[in-house]
Symmetry: C2
Subunit: 379 residues, 2 copies
């Protein structure tokens, strides 16, 4: 294996694939990055065995030669030092040559000889059938992830809740996440002909956060091929293979209330900032609890922390009530997360009782998003 | 105690004094910030019992009223939440009123009631005699700290080496720091009439890093009043009181070699970058060892790491040798630290033997700075 490559293009790929590497992987070889050089491109591969990524660097970009290929081949390099060596290379051209298990890296007057892993030992990435796929605009997919992934359950709770449930039925794509204290659901109507199909998958949080980072700045489309327990995602020159979470995601449809005894509409930023301030007085408590009292045209937000003191703030809101006032206790953090996810100028919050889950939505319903939060019992 | 204050001025002072607070202080009250409001200013105080700081906010700044004082007084506030409450206040004017041990903070429609500490319990800061003092330009003092403080010994080694030794004799101020593997010494000739005096003090690293952060952007002078075991430093509207490290600092003068068998002059940036690259191949080793081989007009920098591989780079240098070649092993990190501290376009490195300490200096000797580094025995 022998080639010369532009430093910046090489680094971009290395940094991308290195993100999935688990530094304390049980498999020594998965701490490395695999380089596969063929006649027209270089493929960088990395994996933590649940999420695997390939980054393809074409030899030519817009007729400019990025890689000068002298001899094809494969090597696996230790990721940690290798990226730093490339990053700190003194010139913009990196010469690369492998002999046995050693790799020689030349740049200007500096020369490195790095011990690699045996490329034959690197596991093959699974191949997926190309039968079922779905195309999504990258910006839409990015929105869906942002709006749901924060509601997944933390590690070491119920594994099935550590991912986002994506289901497709009647051309409606529904993404749902819940940690059992709150839930976020976003629906999108698809016009693609592939949307006639049906699926029900649970994509692990970890994979979604990689996708999010990859597509946050770009346009284009993602194409997702799916099987029962696996998806393969294509985006520009990157391919992710992801092992799905197996099991049946709980039916959450019936949790969403439809009858309300109180609701109010508020400016999102004003509401967020007030909750943020009042939460300061409850931070000693693990549960970060604040109290909301809705009256005619007014919302009072308050908190009490035994050792610290108390805080109170009033906000003008547009309210509807059955009684004179409605009172509820809730996690300040959950409220702030919901408002952030909705990212709308105004929000509406609808309550069906002091002890039942309530809904946060954009006041103009311009996207089909629902945030559901369980209140806190304080007595 | 009752006053109204501009948010930004208040925050600047709070953030400054909060830096010295030790969050796990043995003394509960030292986790707080003391506010002393008199007829013409507000003084903020904080301390970790070794370093104490006062930040003075005058009621008027350039004829503009910063503080509207209604009733003088003193309170001690828990630092953690308090600064966040001010930072997140909805308006630029903060109203402040204390009643018994509660403090009411008003801003716009938000109101906080915070439980404070008893101000009578807050320890008095020690008073120092005004007999002996020294004035230094803030930029010079900042340079001296930057050039020496990185050589102090890490915590829990010899306490006396955890500070920088400042001594004044014959109008020469000498700052010395050593962790016993390397040493940094900077000398400055003073013209001040106070410089006729003599002193020998050890200022703890922690205090010096606070000073450094305070003066890094500003001009002006610092004035330091000193006694046997204490200094008080005045800078603009800030006063630091520092408990010195007691004991006799070792005499390091005799450690600095004067006869050399090899030396070379190199471009600082080229040398630094080459050492930085080659060190990548020795990072698994705790000691970060690289090898230098000086020959006529050439420097070879190399490293070997058993499990990783090897690296080598050559640099054109201006060298002087007694023999055909000179070889030495040294910590890459120490070399880089020394070059950074010297901050000169070219450096000269002078060796008096393969196993004795060597010197790094600016090649034009434009400042009186010496970096001394012990080599590593590799056999």
């Amino acid at each position: 294996m022998k080639f010369t490559i532009e430093k910046s293009d090489f680094l971009e790929g290395l940094n991308h694939v290195a993100r999935v590497i688990a530094p304390n992987s049980l498999f020594e070889i998965l701490k490395g990055i695999k380089l596969e050089l063929s006649s027209n491109n270089l493929v960088l591969k990395a994996s933590d065995s649940l999420v695997s990524v390939e980054f393809i660097i074409d030899a030519y970009k817009d007729d400019k030669e990025i890689i000068t290929i002298e001899e094809e081949g494969q090597v696996v390099l230790p990721s940690r030092n290798f990226i730093e060596i490339i990053r700190k290379a003194p010139t913009n051209l990196i010469e690369f040559e492998s002999t046995d298990s050693f790799i020689k890296i030349h740049s200007g007057k500096s020369e490195f000889n790095i011990k690699g892993y045996d490329a034959m030992e690197y596991p093959e990435f699974p191949v997926i059938s190309r039968e079922n796929s779905l195309k999504l605009e990258a910006t839409v997919f990015n929105d869906i992830i942002r709006e749901t992934v924060f509601c997944t359950a933390p590690n070491d709770q119920r594994p099935i809740l550590e991912g986002v449930n994506f289901s497709l039925k009647n051309k409606i794509l529904t993404a749902t996440a819940t940690d059992s204290y709150r839930l976020s659901r976003r629906q999108v109507v698809l016009n693609d002909e592939d949307a006639e199909k049906e699926f029900n998958l649970i994509i692990p949080r970890k994979a979604l956060t990689y996708f999010q980072r990859m597509i946050e700045t770009g346009g284009d489309e993602v194409e997702i091929f799916y099987e029962n327990n696996r998806i393969v995602l294509y985006y520009q020159n990157v391919v992710y293979t992801v092992l799905l979470i197996s099991g049946n995601y709980p039916n959450t449809e019936k949790l969403i209330p439809t009858m309300f005894e109180c609701s109010f509409t508020a400016n999102s930023r004003e509401f967020f900032n007030a909750v943020d301030r009042i939460s300061l007085m409850s931070r000693e408590d693990k549960d970060d609890i604040i109290k909301l009292v809705v009256t005619e045209g007014n919302l009072e937000i308050s908190s009490q922390a035994k050792d610290l003191g108390s805080a109170v703030e009033e906000l003008q809101v547009n309210s509807k009530l059955e009684d004179d006032s409605f009172e509820i206790s809730v996690s300040g953090k959950y409220l702030k997360d919901a408002v952030s996810a909705i990212a709308s100028e105004e929000i509406v919050i609808k309550f069906s009782g002091e002890l039942t889950a309530f809904i946060v939505q954009p006041s103009d319903y311009h996207r089909d998003i629902i945030e559901l939060i369980l209140p806190v019992r304080t007595y």
